[in-house]
């Protein structure tokens, strides 16, 4: 480089590499993101690739032996259905509850107290919620006791150590998450749009259908995906308040058992890849479905 530069001193010097890089936005400041990016490549991207490759190197059998075993052995294959049977209803229920409630709460002046209460189960986490549920929803717990005193039940309902336990625990931790996300999307919509529709005589139902629904749809699709993915990867509550050997043997339990009980990391990686792939499939279906009913940014938003 330096030899070249000294050989042709008359010519207009080309801007240095440094300057050229700076012109396209790469300089000392940009390099500040390198540590964080390298860290995530090493601990997030690399493990994923490593796991993907490892899943094709089974303890015995050919390249696809792990995947063949997963889909041919009902002990493994059924976990996908079991997990879907928990995650889909929970996500739909949470969304169905969150949407109308968020519409009410948006009109409140003082949302802070309510949102603080709802943040509680998220911060306390699934383990604590499961721990509390064991007694509270148990046959001797206050929940059953109250219902029996009120005469709504003649004998206690079983709400823990079965499917319903996991469902309830996912509503307790999942509903606040879905709700707060929905609320942040709803409050992001310009209220003057609704006022304009109201001035023109649109009733609440019509305002919802023609103003909010199209504007909310992208946000709701994202909320659905995030809530679903959370519910699909349920682990502690499926063990603690579920029936981990049968009705709530979810896919994450199968992956965990392969890795830490059978020490078959190859099989565990294969299950983790299947878990990621099934999540991706549902997310893609949601976005494909959204594209059918919704095209481009709302035409009615700016007119």
């Amino acid at each position: 480089m330096s030899a070249l530069a000294s050989a042709a001193p008359v010519r207009q010097p080309r801007p240095s590499l440094r300057l050229r890089l700076a012109a396209s936005g790469i300089d000392g400041v940009t390099l500040l993101l390198l540590p964080a990016a390298l860290f995530l490549i090493a601990l997030f991207i690399y493990p994923f690739i490593y796991g993907f490759v490892l899943s094709f190197e089974p303890k015995q059998g050919g390249m696809f032996a792990n995947y063949q075993r997963f889909f041919s052995d009902p002990f493994f294959a059924n976990t996908v259905g079991t997990t879907m049977k928990i995650a889909l209803p929970v996500t739909l229920l949470n969304l169905a509850l969150a949407l109308p409630i968020a519409f009410r709460v948006r009109l409140l002046r003082r949302q802070r107290l309510l949102t603080t209460f709802l943040v509680l189960p998220i911060t306390l986490g699934t383990v604590l919620v499961a721990e509390g549920m064991l007694f509270y929803f148990g046959p001797q717990g206050w929940f059953n006791r109250t219902l029996m005193t009120l005469g709504l039940l003649s004998q206690p309902v079983r709400l823990v150590h079965n499917y319903w336990g996991v469902l309830i625990s996912l509503v307790i931790t999942g509903f606040p998450f879905t709700f707060l996300l929905t609320l942040s999307y709803i409050t992001g919509i310009d209220p003057s749009l609704e006022q304009a529709a109201a001035t023109l005589g649109a009733r609440a139902a019509a305002r919802f259908r023609h103003i909010f629904w199209p504007l909310l749809l992208p946000g709701l699709a994202i909320t659905f995906c995030l809530s679903f993915v959370q519910a699909y990867s349920v682990f502690p509550s499926a063990v603690l308040v579920g029936e981990p050997a049968a009705a709530t043997r979810v896919i994450s339990i199968a992956a965990y058992q392969s890795a830490f009980e059978d020490y078959d990391y190859s099989m565990a990686s294969a299950i983790a890849m299947i878990m990621a792939a099934t999540q991706l499939v549902v997310v893609l279906i949601v976005f494909a479905g959204r594209a059918l009913v919704y095209r481009g940014p709302v035409a009615s938003g700016k007119g």
């Binding site: 540590p35 493990p47 409630i101 509390g132 707060l180």
Partner: protein, 276 residues
């Protein structure tokens, strides 16, 4: 505004639903607290008598002293490292446009979108193969995976609203990037950094999956110890597990209350939102 009867009924039904949810939530937490102070509680509305001895027995049985020490060491290390890695990266992303920026943003978004148990299993495999699994360093590294992107995404809007002329002025007077950070940016950014790190703290105390997958016997945090206690219930008195749960709740809630003084509760969920 005149509202029709159906609209009013609808509103009442929704408020009842919210009240029902919160009532059950409070009752659930109250059950744990009451039980942790109960001498004997079987088949009645309230326990026979109250005592505090379960706290002492839980403290000894579960070695809570050690567990709490580990928890705070892990959490402090995660908070410090997440700040050190995250804030500069957020600054770079807020101030520069460069080819491939979208790809970098995707790299920082993915760990927040993919649930921990999905990427945790391959990550734990890698950590165990490199000998870091089961150690404190492994737990800290694992917990940094979701927290570094979290800090970045919370900080970007904070940094974007700072007038770039302030930095330009500092540059004119000859400040390098490091001095710019220490003397100009950090003082302005302090509220934002504090909020982001407090949220990291709350999330890390409650982060079960990643710690569970990477922790060994000497690197368990409180939430993992609680899981094992509940998992092996039957061996120990319910009340002493409840006492441990109350200790866990207290450590989380203290920090949550401090955090809520600085941030909006919705920020705990929706992270990349603009601050108002």
């Amino acid at each position: 505004m005149n509202r029709s009867l159906t609209e009013r009924l609808w509103a009442t039904a929704l408020w009842l639903l919210v009240a029902f949810f919160i009532l059950n939530l409070i009752a659930l937490i109250a059950t744990v607290i009451t039980s942790s102070f109960a001498t004997r509680w079987l088949g009645t509305w309230f326990p026979a008598d109250f005592t505090t001895r379960w706290y002492f027995s839980a403290w000894d049985e579960f070695q809570l002293g050690d567990v709490l020490t580990v928890t705070f060491e892990v959490v402090l290390a995660v908070v410090a490292l997440a700040g050190l890695l995250g804030v500069p990266a957020a600054y770079a992303l807020a101030r520069r446009d460069f080819p491939g920026k979208k790809l970098v943003m995707l790299l920082f978004l993915l760990p927040l979108l993919v649930p921990p148990i999905t990427y945790g299993i391959p990550m734990a495999t890698v950590l165990y193969r490199t000998g870091l699994g089961g150690t404190m360093a492994g737990v800290i590294l694992a917990n940094l995976v979701p927290t570094v992107p979290f800090v970045i995404l919370v900080m970007i809007p904070f940094i974007e609203q700072i007038d770039p002329r302030i930095e330009a002025a500092a540059r004119v007077f000859g400040a390098g990037t490091l001095r710019l950070f220490i003397h100009v940016l950090l003082p302005i950014l302090m509220p934002g950094v504090l909020a982001a790190l407090l949220l990291v703290l709350v999330r890390t105390i409650g982060m079960f999956e990643l710690t569970f997958l990477t922790a060994g016997p000497t690197s368990q945090t409180l939430v993992v110890a609680l899981y094992y206690a509940v998992f092996a219930a039957g061996v120990r008195a319910v009340q002493s597990i409840d006492a441990m749960a109350v200790i866990y709740m207290a450590t989380t809630l203290v920090w949550l209350l401090i955090a809520l003084r600085f941030v909006n509760p919705t920020q705990i969920v929706a992270r990349a939102k603009q601050t108002r």
